[in-house]
């Protein structure tokens, strides 16, 4: 490999040690002066004068041919684990198989090349799809109204928290400052509440993994905005007291936020709205098979009960003129009466999120949706049954779509991290580790419904084998992974030296 320095032209960064091996050069390392990729035709209009004083002197972008770019990204792609490549039992993330047809439907030219500000008469297809998806999500969840605007789960949470705040304010109730959050919650819950300055009160879990009702009652007073519950919770347990939790919070005037991250366990099983939950976000990128894209984009629609519908973000899709047998209805935008405002530009993650989710729901229908959750739960319970004897499961009862085991053994210094890394050697993606925070050395396992029994058995076998290795050859685990293209990372170096970008190499002749 060539000895390429990444020392920046502008940001002085420590030069890479000469002994460091470069597996794949960066796109800047690969640049060669004068090389061209995709070019454009000369303008067929007269050239206009440019304001010289406002122009930039240099554009320090790389110079590559198309083949250089393709090979580079092809090389990079090979370093990635993916759902298409294997089992990805990442708890709380619902890494299910992403149907290929969704990739085609979301790229239909009619969707791909429509501008968000086109007159509504020219985008009735888009609007009909959005309206229908709103209706479907309402039906699936039991809510009265749905906005498709939020861009991701956390964005949906923030939307929901703003709606809860606005509802209290609209009733002249200004003293509510506390948000109750169970100790098993995702970090986004307190962070979303923190963004509007709410005070977070943590509610512990009881011995069965449910919200501790005694503490909840003590905390419920007239300063409570509401509670943010995840059900099933991050232990994978359906809260057996959910209706009581809802009642206790409602009785003190608070609202109940449902974190929809775990909705994959509930399709056709129970509708959160029927349980009395007031507001909830959906993760279309979990439950409805929108691919995760290496971190995004997601899509986080929000459903609300009738009393909160007026507060949804603007705009929603509505029917402006009813149709009849001859003509379809005219779809357009409507603004809720007491809207919290706009959460992002335009209308939501339309192409990548909404069209894919629409396709997915259309292909499942009511029975297919229920089957998704049934098999997600079956698969999780099967893995739990196979692993229970080997790994300690602190909250052990019938689980929903995921469960949490402890990645540690009596008398061994092997930790959850070591087990996670060792799983890579067996060609599995590790489970979520060190979350939820209330389980020591947590390994959070969510198989999803799209894995067959053979895969689940191979995974269980690997984990059982690793438990033996933890006793017989702990160092094999401490130093894992061994068979992956990269080994464990020096995370302290990354954080201390903070090399956050590369530039063209120092000796690069920009004028060549």
């Amino acid at each position: 490999m060539t000895d390429v320095s990444t020392t920046g032209q502008k940001n002085a960064v420590p030069p890479l040690n000469a002994n460091v091996k470069i597996v794949e050069p960066t796109i800047f390392d690969l640049s060669s002066p004068g090389r061209k990729g995709v070019t454009f035709p000369d303008p067929d209009v007269p050239r206009a004068k440019m304001p010289q004083s406002l122009l930039r002197k240099d554009l320090p972008l790389p110079e590559l041919a198309e083949v250089d770019v393709v090979r580079h990204y092809m090389h990079l792609s090979k370093f990635n684990y993916s759902v298409d490549g294997g089992f990805y039992p990442l708890g709380s993330c619902t890494m299910k198989y992403n149907p290929k047809i969704d990739e085609d439907t979301c790229r239909l030219p009619g969707f791909l090349h429509t501008h968000p500000l086109q007159p509504i008469e020219t985008v009735q297809g888009n609007l009909a799809l959005m309206y229908t998806l709103q209706e479907w999500l309402k039906e699936i969840s039991g809510f009265a109204a749905v906005t498709l605007q939020p861009a991701a789960g956390a964005h949906g949470e923030f939307t929901g928290v703003l709606i809860m705040r606005a509802w209290h304010k609209s009733r002249g109730d200004h003293k509510r400052v506390k948000m109750l959050i169970p100790d098993s919650a995702h970090g986004t819950n307190p962070a979303s509440s923190g963004m509007i300055g709410l005070q977070i009160v943590t509610i512990p879990s009881d011995a069965r993994g449910n919200v501790d009702l005694k503490v909840l009652k003590e905390q419920c007073d007239d300063t409570v905005v509401g509670i943010m519950v995840t059900n099933p919770n991050t232990l994978g347990m359906f809260d057996e007291n959910i209706e009581q939790v809802v009642k206790i919070v409602h009785d003190c005037g608070g609202l109940v936020y449902g974190d929809g991250a775990n909705l994959n366990a509930l399709l056709g099983i129970v509708r959160p709205g029927d349980l009395g939950i007031d507001v909830m976000h959906f993760n279309l990128h979990k439950t409805f098979a929108v691919p995760h894209g290496g971190g995004g984009p997601g899509s986080g629609p929000v459903g609300v009960a009738a009393h909160l519908a007026d507060f949804l973000p603007e705009p929603l899709v509505g029917i402006l003129e009813e149709g009849d047998d001859e003509t379809p209805p005219l779809f357009g935008f409507v603004t809720p009466a007491k809207t919290i405002g706009r959460m992002k530009s335009f209308h939501g993650q339309f192409g990548g999120g909404l069209v894919r989710a629409f396709t997915y729901i259309a292909m499942h229908g009511p029975d297919g949706l229920r089957e998704i959750s049934e098999y997600a739960v079956l698969n999780a319970n099967y893995l739990l049954a196979r692993l229970r004897g080997t790994y300690h499961v602190p909250f052990d009862r019938i689980c929903m779509h995921e469960f949490v085991a402890e990645g540690q053994f009596e008398g061994s210094d092997v930790r959850a991290l070591d087990i996670a890394k060792r799983l890579m050697d067996y060609d599995f993606h590790p489970p979520t580790n060190y979350f939820p925070l209330i389980v020591h050395e947590a390994l959070m396992i969510e198989p999803t419904e799209t894995e067959n029994k053979d895969t689940l058995d191979r995974f269980a076998d690997a984990l059982i084998k690793i438990a033996e290795e933890a006793k017989s050859q702990p160092d094999l685990l401490h130093s894992a992974p061994h068979t992956t293209p990269f080994g464990r990372m020096d995370e302290v170096k990354a954080a201390r030296e903070l090399v956050l970008c590369c530039w063209l190499p120092e000796n690069y002749d920009v004028n060549a």
Partner: protein, 125 residues
């Protein structure tokens, strides 16, 4: 775990030196946090601080924590060099890793070294 006998300690893992007024993060706390990569001192010299209120925000490779004022009083000095070298908190928590100096602090409610050590041991289980 290093717990100098001349210092006083809080349950939120701060130390206070009644002789100099210096305060900082304990050796136990830095060990729990592991490699500290960021420190922001939230108060300035001259500020009044209340016991239990945040004086600094600390981030390590894997965790984040707040440091609270062990005693109330007036901030007499801030260790300006520390934010540029947060690893000092790992290397020398009771020396160069002091965060602020507090004037007029009353240390009578704080734990002594033996009590703090016992408190840390209990938490390990």
């Amino acid at each position: 775990m290093n717990t100098p006998a001349n210092l006083k300690y809080t349950k939120s893992d701060e130390w206070f030196d009644p002789a100099t007024g210096a305060a900082g993060l304990t050796d136990y706390a830095q060990g729990q946090l592991s490699d500290i990569v960021f420190l922001e001192i939230l108060v300035a010299a001259g500020d009044a601080v209340e016991a239990g209120k945040p004086i600094a925000s600390v981030e390590s490779v894997k965790a984040a924590a707040e440091t609270y004022a062990p005693v109330g009083g007036k901030v007499a000095a801030v260790n300006e060099a520390l934010s540029g070298a947060p690893e000092t908190l790992n290397k020398d928590p009771y020396g160069a890793g002091w965060m602020i100096k507090i004037e007029g602090g009353d240390a009578s409610g704080l734990m002594d070294a033996a009590a703090y050590e016992k408190y840390c041991e209990e938490r390990a289980h």
